[in-house]
Symmetry: C2
């Protein structure tokens, strides 16, 4: 943690563990005999516990959204730019909760956990989880924390889908749903990219049908490829042009051989580093949850009908250069919410940073998000 | 061949072989002791051999652009919709030549050929080839055929890059360059997708450093993944939505498990079929040639300067939903050509079919292309 960051950082944080001791039936029909969620909190609950905000993470995220785990940590949590004293989600006003989702690989019950029935890690036998399952597990966490109602549930990408499912499934327990760079369902192109990532993992001979841990190995190359595919699709063509262009890392292009472009080197690094910190079975689970998310499907593909039982307010943010979850997808949600007579604020942020923009401190984005939460703080909690 | 196709088909065609018996120095500094190009021709040369058109193929194409190899062939050549009697490239008027490029895997000298120095297939030791090398080899083929000057050199994607290089390197031997869905150089995003495809092949344990043939195996899974990545990027989000949507092939999405979407099944089929018909070492070579293509690099990145020595006319066609080689990239070429005082016709075709549109018989596209070739026929060859 740098000295200059200290004023606006939540500081050193410690992950906590919530244990649900009873059987938990999943949407797929299988039951977990119980589960644990690792989570972090930032800020302080008010007396009425009316200032709680749930932050939902995306595909490769986890519970460590803000602050540092030790004084020697070089990097803070994944959304530290957004969460902290005076930041858009202001921890001087809000009590922020961020869990690692069920099926995750950073401390919550998932494929790396021991299956009590066998005494071995679940591995590939961990049941498929859905966005709806995540919401139900998060409700149990809220009960545990004494949070009757979240002032807001917020998330980007797959996190935004969780916020949407909260609005649908728990209309009494959510004041506002903030959906950033999300979609009401994945397109065929989205599914195709997820399937390519899955195939990269499944076809890695080190995957061993998901039993790589018991073989003492890991599908590093498959995970690396999966992440490279993901990463390219989270950036925009223009953003990559600005960042990398055709810069050459090594070799002589005039000879037309042995050239490595900077962008290749960057992707290799990103892929390798991801393969060291993420579990392949979890990656598969998360992409399936993304693909299967489609709340309108139960309503004859009528998104307005799917959203007509919601009662919270909505804030829908998208980014102009995001082609994985484009502004058009966010507009579909906003349009359906308007038709369903919901109170919805929507905004397309100009940016050349693609889908990844949702993680970045883009001034106009933080103006919009911070302004929305400021209004929430004033209206919901009576804070000034 | 179907009966109804007979009137507008070039019919049964037979590949021919051109042998260059002398040493051929490549841009990379290595020399081939000689080479062969397999090619096909359609139509008849006029007395002055003034009606020849060179068709350059793209990444996964070959010399079989039109017609059928036998009466029982189910599928014609890859650009049969465009080449034939009365078609946009009208074989009643033009003598069309289409070679398989050097380094290819369909009959021209490439990684599958025997290296005379070793008596074994070149495999991964086949030298890197560039777009400029291809043009030089095609010039030798033209000499062999007695073609002093092509009325036009035409190609889509990587084929368009060859047409551009022809205009630069052989200004006296080309009447018109027709560049379809091309770019003056690849963007960082393009290179990134190519590198992902390469990594998929390189990390397949069946690749054996490129010596898979001598091991009696083939990197099928790597090639399949590479093709899946390529294929998705050649389609558009809208086109895939129209074609596949979220149609389910098998499984029950309400249970959130074991679902296969149609788009996944389609991609698997495309990938598997590609891995049976394409050589992995050739795929690597072709993607490197794409990445390295950048004629402006020798001119301080000044595309106008790179094109200022050209003398032919140009036709530049792009497609509205092509995000791999977008209309903006074609506009860069047109703009540079206009500044360089060239005669350039340019057109963006509305289509939701992405980069693949260049292979498809889209009416407005064929109007533009056919109209351009009609004018060429009238002006260049004096035909009516």
């Amino acid at each position: 943690m740098s000295q200059t960051a200290a004023d606006t950082s939540v500081g050193i944080v410690e992950p906590q563990l919530f244990r649900h001791p009873a059987s938990f039936l999943l949407q797929c029909g299988e039951a977990l005999p119980g589960f644990e969620l690792v989570y972090e909190t930032y800020g302080t609950p008010d007396a009425a516990m009316s200032n709680a905000v749930l932050v939902c993470h995306a595909l490769s995220g986890n519970h460590h959204a803000a602050g540092y785990h030790s004084g020697s940590d070089e990097r803070p949590g994944w959304w530290d730019a957004c969460i902290g004293p005076g930041k858009p989600i202001d921890t001087n006003r809000f009590f922020v909760v961020c869990p690692n989702n069920l099926g995750g690989c950073h401390g919550s019950t998932g494929p790396l956990s021991i299956n009590p029935d066998t005494g071995e890690p679940y591995g590939p036998d961990f049941p498929k989880v859905t966005v709806r399952d995540w919401v139900r597990a998060q409700v149990l966490l809220a009960d545990h924390l004494g949070i009757r109602r979240f002032a807001a549930v917020v998330g980007g990408s797959l996190g935004g889908m969780q916020a949407m499912q909260w609005a649908i499934d728990e209309p009494d327990r959510i004041g506002a749903a903030v959906l950033i760079a999300a979609a009401a369902k994945l397109s065929a192109q989205n599914i195709a990219f997820n399937e390519i990532a899955r195939q990269a993992i499944l076809s890695d001979p080190q995957f061993h049908g998901g039993h790589y841990r018991s073989r003492g190995t890991n599908p590093d190359l498959g995970l690396m490829l999966a992440r490279m595919v993901g990463h390219v699709t989270y950036l925009s063509d223009d953003g990559m042009r600005r960042k990398f262009g055709r810069e050459i890392k090594s070799g002589d292009i005039r000879l037309g051989r042995d050239v490595q472009f900077q962008v290749e080197s960057y992707l290799h690094y990103q892929g390798r580093s991801f393969s060291k910190r993420f579990d392949a079975n979890t990656y598969l689970l998360m992409t399936y949850a993304l693909d299967y998310f489609d709340p309108a499907a139960e309503y004859d593909d009528d998104l307005v009908a799917a959203l007509s039982g919601t009662r919270c307010d909505f804030c829908i943010i998208s980014f102009s250069s995001d082609w994985r979850f484009s502004a058009a997808r966010s507009k579909e949600i906003s349009d359906a919410l308007i038709t369903a007579r919901r109170n919805v604020v929507s905004c397309v942020i100009e940016s050349d940073q693609g889908h990844d923009a949702f993680l970045l401190p883009i001034p106009r984005y933080f103006d919009v998000l911070g302004g929305y939460f400021d209004r929430l703080a004033r209206e919901t909690t009576g804070a000034s």
